[in-house]
Symmetry: D2
Subunit: 367 residues, 4 copies
């Protein structure tokens, strides 16, 4: 029976694999069991953020030395750029341990379960449209099956790395006579995240198929998934999908739950989820509680109506700093103030991921 | 006996005075009693942030129409640029009401007291040096006296608007043969804030005079004030000093206290101060509590050692976004997550204002 | 018979009117004859550039003291934000002198002629659509008539200041049930400039009406004006239109011509126009020639196909700096290298202004 | 007798080595002869520009597949970040061909000669001080010797890649009790470039040793090299030095000369150098001339006095965009306007490289 292990590893630079190597050398991480690595890297998280590709290359090279090129390439590297504010660059390594080495790894069931798939390449002209929604929905179902998660309600986080358009890719599509959904490359990141998230919502039954269509993507904000997290990156042309949930097929000390923040300061939703997981906090988590909190995975975005609880924000009118950077910094502050640490994963752009201006947050804890 | 009134007014743009005008028109604000206006304006908060000067001009013009040019010019306009994240642009108007119109304004004493002064112009070559420290210390004492605050311990916030160096001002000083402390204009903002804050620390007895000198400014971070808040702006050549505290000479429903955050996520310090003021919060303040919280005035900075609680941050290595902008966004998120609103005043650059990486926070509440 | 005078005035800050005041005090500029002031101000030239509004306020106040509020408000203030690279902030003041004071002002005819109009406010939902095209076209014709310019071929520059969408304006329109052309505020600037420029093209007969429609704006780049220059700004809701050309109804020493740069480095087009105006330059203009060159008015944009003469550029993929800022800096360098000075007016965003990636340049010289 | 070959290769991304591979596959580039690769990569060119490290890794990996890890590591990879404006990302590959394959490679002598060395690692506390100056001067002399360039006057370009300080490196040095020259990481790049350039000036006899000292670095701007080009990068701890000049020991069709621009728009200096090399241009180089111009290597900086030919610039007061980015965009425009192409190498930060605000430009042409 498999056991899920999750390792938080600080990164001193986008290509810093020393922490990963140290875990492997110490026998605490088996490289052959790694299914996925989520990274927070220190680029701008937008179109020209090459820290993601740099990190993926460094991580792949490092793993290849242990498990070979082919197996290293099959790992899902989900690099989310942008460590604004005091957010700390790090890797979250998801490991599937087939034969748990000791009793301490066998906790009550159901336990944290992990599934992952890679989709086929997405043609640029499908980006932000139903072609992308369907491709992702099929991928999510495949990942659930792989993880042994039977019911949609047992899925608590779906991380998707999706492609974006660049001037070059648009040119290639247009040279073929194809019409892309948008020519603004930064905006293409939003459309890609939005269509991917609707794909999750479709797979999990959060939105019915007949409400979907090309014209709702990044337009009808009433349609959303409470468990999707999508990041767009220049370094891939397909999707990498990682499903996190609970399954009776898995054992081990870890479990997972999620909250949906209604807006950028809805820390109460997170506090209630911590409560459900046994971390009762008046104010900030104390040190013992912080030690049990393995990972915080969140999405953030500037509320599209230009305000939070009636007060105007300026994130969408700032031409010097992308609103995704503003939102990550701010929401990371709100979450860190509650959980007491800055090594958290806050990813920008939450189109169709939770309500407008809010977003899903998943919590992985040791029971 | 004077009563202090504090008004929070949303600003739709740096020159939006419509909210101020509405308060005056409604008889809820007497323009002749305004001592100071603190503004959070939506510029970058750095050297070339002209939203501060634009706001000051608009506010001055508006008040001049009510009280005349001379009286309008005597108001302390402390414009702090930068509403990163979801922070909401607004004015905080400090009013001294000589004859409180009704019983509802007479609360227990001591109550919130306000003092303000303008210093003489600072020669560019004194910026960041003892000349500036002494000038500010004298100003703080004058403002305390004006406010009727006798003991240093009754001072809870000292807001200082201080000048910065521009290429032009440096050139003028050097043409006179004078040597400025720094030629990097962005860095001059930090030095000016640092020297001003040490001036507050000197005035309030937080740091002894014999520990001060030109060489400690922005170098010896063990020297700090727990109540200073300094903002640098291109639009002035002198200092504007506003002292907020408690005095038995004042009455009214408002009181004030402060906390010193030890680091960027030390929301517990704030929670304890809220407790002392009667706002006991498990998690976020509820709506009734939020209504009693009149103003949150805070300082934020990137911790100079490059980490928060041992985890690396990237704010000081980011050449695209000033660390002051990162820190404001993040700390605003941490504070807003606790108090439940985004119309808060978080000012960047906390050199010698609280411990390195932390900063003072003042809270004005209705009893 | 009127004489056109054009004054270049350095600006030390967005609200610096000292140079203007000095000219007036010296009797070299009659404030009552000012038709328009073009400003290059030092903001980011994008959505949240408040230097434009600040400058307009300062200039209006200054003129009002000389000619009264009403006449000051009728001046066209065209503030173009963004002095990237070594471009120097300045005002270009266009004056119509009714009674030329001396013989030195009477040169050969036709001479430089100036016309200006303000249009009505543009409803947000017309922005970027035919409603805006038609409104501008009518305005251009009115301005030509005012200037005494009879033939479209005698028009050499049409400067238009047009509005943009903000989160707030979009919200207002949508609250009325109206549908805006775009919800991305930065992108709305491009649409507004594009529709305005097509309005110029329509008025000057460069594009036939039957080729125009909502769907060509910022889509069909084969449609363009070789003489339009549009800047979008947050500070206005209507259009300010200034037409510059040659008319036999005007006299004086000044004349005007224009070039259309085919791409960002097409300095040869400019060199030919200088030749036509009698400024024959092998390489950079010499000092005597520089003294005769009164004003350089240019548009710049990143070529939408992502390349210049076959070599890739990265302006459209840079999420840290708007492509408009990149293009202004670069084209200003190309022009300044030829004319030998940095006080030139290069305005960003050249949608439908010259060919894609290129743009119009007007030259005003003393004969 | 060796022949120098120089290849300009477009880069579609920081890790794009396809152009390099194509040249090798076509037999036009012998990977074992590569001495150095200069890259213009599309990062911000400042502290957190990881495109340089990413490019170096990709190029090293690519060459290692051809010539082995050790030989690939010995190549000087000088990655200069920042392709602002229309500057085009590319690699300039410097090859030393021992046995020129045909007559067409044997031109008149002296011809272009190339030397390269790596220095030892620089302790962080030596950065920006005499320790760095001396280390670089010794390196330049070693590189001249290697290239067979006997006289300092035959050196026309010295490219140095030098390290910078990061928060972490400062912390390490301070933990050892060492005192660094500056704690501002962005500023450390300037100091490193400045000290390296004074090292070149010392080696080439442009500045006498007794005029040098810790206190002149980035202070006494009268001291400079007319041939140094230094770029700072986070990815190295030592210096990589490449000397380009003329030597009778080399043959082949290529030669080199240089100009020193007096300010950011001094294109006339460049035009005179083109003249000396046989490229006589009235205005922009024509197509035939462009084909003979192999490489343009230039330095650019914002003039420290805040003006160009008396007109104020705003580059040093802009807190949104580093002055190095402004200067690169602008000067690239000026140079591209003259030479007619955008694939040029303009590197930012010209401390002690040419006069303040100006900088060296080297030209490699085919005779």
């Amino acid at each position: 029976m498999p056991v899920a292990r999750v390792h938080l590893v600080p990164a001193a630079a986008p290509d810093d694999v020393s922490g990963l190597e140290a875990l492997i050398a110490a026998g605490r991480l088996d490289p052959s069991g790694i299914l996925a690595i989520f990274g927070k890297t220190e680029g701008n998280g937008c179109v020209n953020d090459f820290t993601r590709g740099f990190a993926t290359r460094a991580l792949t090279d490092a793993l290849a030395a242990h498990v070979g090129r082919e197996k290293a390439a099959a790992v899902c590297y989900v690099m989310s750029g942008g460590t604004e504010g005091a957010m700390s660059p790090h890797w979250t390594v998801f490991e599937r341990l087939e034969d748990a080495p000791g009793e301490e790894n066998h906790g009550p069931r159901p336990a944290l379960a992990i599934g992952r798939v890679h989709t086929a390449d997405l043609p640029p002209e499908h980006l932000g449209r139903m072609g992308q929604v369907e491709l992702v929905a099929a991928g999510v179902k495949a990942a659930m099956k792989q993880a042994g998660i039977r019911a949609a309600r047992d899925v608590h986080f779906v991380q998707i790395k999706c492609p974006l358009l660049t001037a070059q890719r648009i040119g290639e599509a247009e040279a073929r006579g194809a019409d892309v959904a948008v020519r603004d490359t930064l905006k293409s990141m939003g459309l890609s995240r939005g269509a991917s998230s609707l794909g999750v919502a479709l797979a999990l039954g959060e939105v019915a198929r007949d409400r979907l269509g090309d014209d709702v993507v990044c337009r009808d904000w009433s349609l959303a998934s409470g468990r999707a997290s999508a990041s767009a990156g220049v370094e891939l042309l397909n999707h990498e999908i990682v499903v996190l949930g609970r399954s009776a097929d898995w054992s081990g000390p870890l479990t997972i739950d999620h909250a949906v923040m209604a807006d950028a300061i809805d820390t109460e939703a997170l506090r209630k989820a911590l409560d459900r997981l046994g971390l009762h906090a008046a104010g900030q988590l104390d040190r013992a509680q912080q030690a049990r909190l393995v990972a915080v995975l969140a999405k953030a975005e500037a509320s599209p109506d230009g305000s939070v609880r009636g007060a105007r924000h300026t994130m969408l009118d700032d031409s010097d700093i992308s609103s995704t950077r503003h939102a990550r910094a701010f929401v990371a502050g709100a979450l860190a103030g509650l959980v007491g640490r800055t090594m958290i994963y806050v990813s920008g752009g939450a189109e169709h991921q939770g309500p407008p201006g809010g977003g899903p947050v998943a919590l992985i804890v040791e029971r």
